[in-house]
Amino acid sequence: MKAKIIITPKKAVVDPQGKTVQGALEQMGYKGVTGVHVGKYIEIDLAPGTDPAAAQRALNDAAHKFLSNPIIEDYKLEME
């Protein structure tokens, strides 16, 4: 079983990395790019037999408290 967490910077936070990547894409000739936001992807492997609902609750807790900083980031958790 795997948990996938995508962490993205909140829109209110200036994202110079995103802007830099956007500039580079434009310079490379990719057209029509109106925004780039660079985030993080975390994969967590869970032991077989783990209860998916309990794991989801626990990982939501972990994502909120530790894996992301709610002041500057949003996260999305997917269980597989």
Binding site: A12, V13, V14, P16, Q17, F66, N69, I71
Partner: protein, 236 residues
């Protein structure tokens, strides 16, 4: 006065903090991040560095170190805590200070001297800084851009919690004087109770004229004055 200087894996400004405290005539000891007690510390310094390699986010892992329970207890009891650079990051991650520190807006690591304007003398960390005095202090960081949402910024202003702001040599809060894009040129803040503070610049590296500036002494002198006032009040 007894200084406790925390050490996390990859803290690297702990020695500078110990040196500064002892240079100014006070006792200072290291406290390893796994310890559960701060002993008889009067003030805690959370030093600069790259704790845990800045993995996940700066200070995000250090904030869960065992010693941070003792720091939280110490702060809840009114003890003075000063976070410098990575220490500031640890304190914001731990929720002991508001806001967060993100990547410098130009994506570059800034290692240089900057000017700081103390925004208020009303704190244990700024009370000895003469009105109008601009401090020249070194910075060395890649993720020092202070962010907080509108509501938090309004509260910081209303409660006088902004302690230091980046300025030019004459004290103007300009954009050019802002090395990292921090909102309102914020270099350091304190909590509502005013006993916990954090700043990105390194006052402990500016305590000797040999190191280009000894303006950092004024921050330490403010702490001593505050502690002396406290013990005088207790004795009374």
């Amino acid at each position: 006065m007894n200084f406790a200087v925390l050490q996390f894996p990859a803290s690297n400004c702990d020695q500078d903090a110990i040196h500064a405290a002892r240079l100014l005539g006070h006792a200072a000891r290291y406290v390893w991040h796994k310890e559960n007690s701060l002993g008889d510390a009067d003030v805690v310094i959370v030093p600069g560095g790259f704790s845990y390699g800045d993995y996940l986010r700066c200070g995000a892992i250090a904030r869960f170190s065992p010693v941070m329970q003792a720091v939280k207890q110490f702060a809840d009891n009114g003890g003075l805590v000063l976070g410098v650079c990575n220490g500031f990051q640890v304190l914001t991650e731990a929720g002991l200070l508001p806001g967060a520190l993100v990547r410098n807006r130009d994506l570059q690591f800034h290692c240089e001297h900057i000017f700081l304007k103390p925004a208020t003398a009303d704190s244990p960390f700024t009370n000895k800084i003469p009105a109008g005095k601009i401090l020249r202090i070194p910075i060395a960081h890649g993720e020092g851009c202070y962010f907080a949402d509108e509501e938090t910024l309004a509260k910081l202003k209303a409660n006088n919690q902004i302690l230091w702001q980046y300025c030019d040599a004459t004290g103007n809060l300009t954009d050019t004087a802002n090395p990292n894009g921090s909102l309102l040129n914020i270099a350091g803040v304190c909590n509502e109770r005013r006993n916990v503070a954090g700043l990105m610049p390194h006052p402990e590296r500016a305590c000797e004229a040999l190191l280009a500036s000894d303006d950092g002494r004024l921050v330490f002198e403010s702490i001593f004055a505050a502690l002396e006032k406290k013990s005088a009040a207790k004795a009374a």
